[in-house]
């Protein structure tokens, strides 16, 4: 299958930024595709880990950041575990997510960036995740009220989800972490 890329003004495309963020050098990739063969989602999603690496090597531009696999990647690390060149593809994917957010790339199906933001918001507020609150906010944000609504009464009844947020965390420390890193990012 031919791999097509759109080059942009910066000759190395986004691969230089990926290396800056993740510290991972992708140039050793042999295109053996063990990563792709082991990837649980590449069979169900556009693109694959090996294709992402090839595109980075060829100097792809921002359109790479619209790739669905950046957000369907489950961070299972099968790619990295089986890579003969020990390329940590899971961290490359994390770097691509950061860049996708930075550059305002297309919102993926299921809007994972929103889910991340909401869940991290619950951690910042309570020091621990608050699933039920996050679910409600996510549903409001994606207008997907009906999806999985049959599950909520069932898991509530079984006590398989907490009704109220936890109160026991060292909230001061968690706030300090978020505030410090938010300031560092702005610099």
């Amino acid at each position: 299958m031919p791999i097509r890329i759109k080059k942009e003004a910066v000759p190395e495309g986004i691969s230089r930024r990926v290396k800056e963020i993740s510290g991972i050098d992708i140039n050793g990739c042999l295109q053996c595709k063990k990563c792709t063969n082991g990837c649980p989602v590449s069979g169900y999603t556009a693109s694959s880990p090996a294709e992402i690496i090839k595109k980075l090597q060829l100097g792809a531009g921002k359109e790479l950041l619209d790739s669905e696999i950046i957000w369907t990647c489950v961070s299972c690390s099968t790619c990295y575990s089986r890579c003969p060149m020990e390329i940590n593809m899971a961290q490359v994917m994390d770097a691509l997510r950061v860049l996708a957010e930075e550059t305002g790339a297309a919102t993926p199906d299921g809007n994972m960036p929103l889910m991340n933001k909401i869940l991290l918001g619950t951690i910042k507020t309570f020091g621990r995740t608050y699933d039920l609150g996050a679910m409600a906010l996510y549903k409001a944000g994606t207008a997907s009220y009906m999806k999985d609504m049959d599950k909520v009464p069932m898991i509530l009844k079984k006590g398989k989800i907490a009704l109220l947020p936890s109160q026991g965390a060292d909230k001061k420390m968690v706030k300090q972490i978020f505030n410090h890193l938010e300031k560092a990012r702005k610099k």
């Binding site: 489950v74 994390d94 995740t129 398989k160």
Partner: protein
């Protein structure tokens, strides 16, 4: 055997059953747990997708608390296990990261607190012989597919949990309890983990592949050690039925719950009533075997 026990956020919510069963069996096995005061979220699947330093800091804040206790950390959630170990790795191999995390936390952490999974301390610290001695009941031939998922075993050089492609730790516990740990190929496949609410269409496909393979291997239940695997495999069987018409009715039981049953504990104490696919058939089988 005394450890700092890190419950993780799911212990108070979606994995209350894992928490209850772990705390119920630990003292019977001679394990003493102390919870770090004010423990907070490890950053789990979200933080590393947004900011590397945030994910390391959130985990390190807890590791530092445990270091102050002068103990090593035991976790029962595979995601906490993974994030804590990755934080230790990042801090001890990248001096720059260590500096940044120290600035964020206001204190230096050297990455030295050992992080262990509950299953590991049973096998490595207690030993199978002592574990067997503590048992009062047997699984008597129950066929169990042990499912390890991703976060316990990968990436191998950081997780260093058993064998990354064919782990057998849970199988060894099942054999010790008188069950049959099945040899099956999907032990370390991914269930879809963090995509559970955002891309349930994918989670349904990935989870079905795992459950179908376990069924083909002759499993009467699947044993798990990760809260995300448990809820995906358990809750999504209703969606699988709707999408494919296939009713698997496969109980997804925490390894700690199976251990509790073999220590003679009740379903209530072990939180077995919280499972979505009823484990009743499995329980009946164990009980009928015990009587016969």
């Amino acid at each position: 055997m005394k450890y700092a026990y890190f419950p993780g956020c799911s212990a108070e919510s979606t994995a209350r059953d894992l928490y209850l069963s772990t705390l119920a069996i630990a003292p019977v096995l001679g394990i003493e747990f102390v919870e770090p005061k004010g423990w907070s979220c490890c950053g789990t699947t979200m933080a590393h997708q947004v900011d590397h330093d945030l994910s390391v800091s959130l985990a390190a804040a807890n590791l530092l608390k445990v270091k102050d206790m002068g103990l090593n950390m035991v976790v029962s959630c595979a995601s906490c296990y993974s994030r804590m170990k990755i934080a230790n790795h990042e801090i001890s191999t990248h001096p720059k990261t260590r500096e940044k995390i120290a600035a964020t936390l206001g204190r230096d952490y050297d990455g030295s607190v050992k992080v262990r999974h509950f299953v590991e301390i049973i096998l490595e610290d207690m030993g199978l012989a002592a574990f067997k001695k503590a048992l009062t009941h047997s699984l008597q031939g129950l066929k169990v597919a042990s499912y390890y998922g991703c976060l316990l075993v990968r990436p191998p050089e950081i997780a260093s949990f058993d064998d990354p492609e064919n782990p057998v730790y849970m199988d060894r516990l099942i054999h010790a309890m008188g069950g049959v740990g099945l040899d099956w190929p999907h032990k370390v496949e991914c269930c879809g983990g963090s995509l559970t609410l955002t891309r349930s269409d994918l989670v349904i496909k990935l989870s079905e592949a795992i459950i179908a393979m376990a069924k083909d291997a002759g499993a009467q239940c699947i044993a798990v050690a990760c809260p995300m695997c448990q809820i995906n495999l358990d809750m999504r069987q209703a969606n699988i039925l709707k999408a494919t018409g296939k009713r698997y009715n496969m109980p997804i039981i925490y390894i700690t719950q199976l251990m509790g049953l073999c220590l003679g504990m009740s379903e209530q104490v072990l939180g077995l009533n919280k499972l979505i696919i009823s484990p009743q058939e499995t329980l009946n089988f164990i009980q009928s075997s015990i009587r016969s």
